[in-house]
Symmetry: C2
Subunit: 218 residues, 2 copies
């Protein structure tokens, strides 16, 4: 950048949050917000247009999800530096975002300094997690219910999530291009692995494990 400042693309659908960003970042002489977006598509377009040094992104966006948007941006530019800034304290969300290519993950309940530090970390290519998420991820490893979760293969996990979200086995079979029978078998394995014996138990488990966001259903 000619200015020597770190250029930032902000992605958040809440006006008040963008207002907060501007107020906060304006005080920082080395940071400059060069563009904003309110959903995943806009974010991608703005990214293409400006190629900012750092993209700060919320995960709950209207339409295309934050995780999908991260993946899209990373596909275009694998060196894109993306910092997730979200209200979700669920370590699974963090894991998903990082897998999709985010370099950092900070929760909105963090103090402003944590965000500012994270921006600099991410700009320098360093991975960064806010303390609450780091702790949650560490604690999650020790819980016994998560033992079950980790025994699931990625395919099982995927199918479990789709089922818990309410997709039918046929829909899943179609979207994944596999037979309904495989979905059914996989479902059976998942239920025995997580120790439930009904669809309803499965949904409860998925909710307790925060695999699905019940407020975003339909």
């Amino acid at each position: 950048m000619v200015t020597g400042k770190i250029s930032i693309l902000l992605v958040d659908d809440h006006a008040i949050v963008r207002e907060g960003y501007r107020a906060l970042l304006k005080k920082q002489p080395d940071l400059e917000v060069i563009a904003e977006a309110i959903d995943g598509n806009q974010a991608y377009q703005q990214y293409k247009l400006h190629t900012p040094d750092v993209t700060i992104m919320d995960l709950s966006l209207p339409g295309q999800s934050g995780v999908e948007t991260i993946a899209r941006i990373k596909q275009r530019n694998p060196r894109a530096k993306i910092l997730v800034f979200t209200m979700h304290q669920n370590p699974r969300f963090a894991a998903q975002a990082i897998n999709a290519g985010a370099l950092g993950y900070v929760t909105k309940s963090s103090p402003p300094e944590v965000l500012l530090n994270a921006i600099h970390d991410v700009y320098s290519g360093r991975r960064t997690l806010s303390p609450d998420i780091a702790q949650a991820l560490a604690l999650e490893k020790t819980g016994h219910e998560t033992a079950a979760l980790e025994s699931l293969t990625s395919r099982e996990f995927e199918i479990l999530r789709l089922l818990a979200e309410g997709k039918s086995k046929e829909e899943i079979a179609q979207t994944l291009s596999i037979s309904a029978k495989t979905v059914s078998n996989c479902y059976y394995l998942v239920k025995s692995k997580i120790g439930v014996n009904s669809d309803i138990g499965l949904v409860h488990w998925a909710i307790k494990m925060r695999l699905i966001d019940i407020y975003r259903l339909k």
Copy 2:
């Protein structure tokens, strides 16, 4: 107030959002933030201390929920003017908040002017809803979801709740001293009445309708 300004208590657990509020409200000569709180308890204490003209409150707070906090404040001072400002676009949340005593409900995706207008409305004792919520509530009245809920008989309702909580049909049959077959038939009727065709859909529906409290399960 001696200042002649509208005094405001801000309740939100996200630092960036409070930052946004300050930046936004600072531009308004007639509004003044006199206190902030990051959870329900603090909100109540600050309310007692300052008795602000208007309390702006998020619903998702750590610990005690926003709705409970509203009720507590209203219990102390029934004339308290509370404006809910939250990300939740679910009209059921709005209905709950209003029942608890909130005077207004604005979503965080609303433009800043909507929030500012709402503050003035609430200060003047007028009920106010952001357009998206007003529309959703209006639609909900006519929507067949609540119609379905009201078409259920008390027995069906009871069985639906037990099922959604994860009880098996045999357990329900035993506790209600009826045959499992009757539970099954009832279940069938309920599903057709509420318009779902799977156990999972039923749980989702029950959650959306707040029939069960998922965080209180086991």
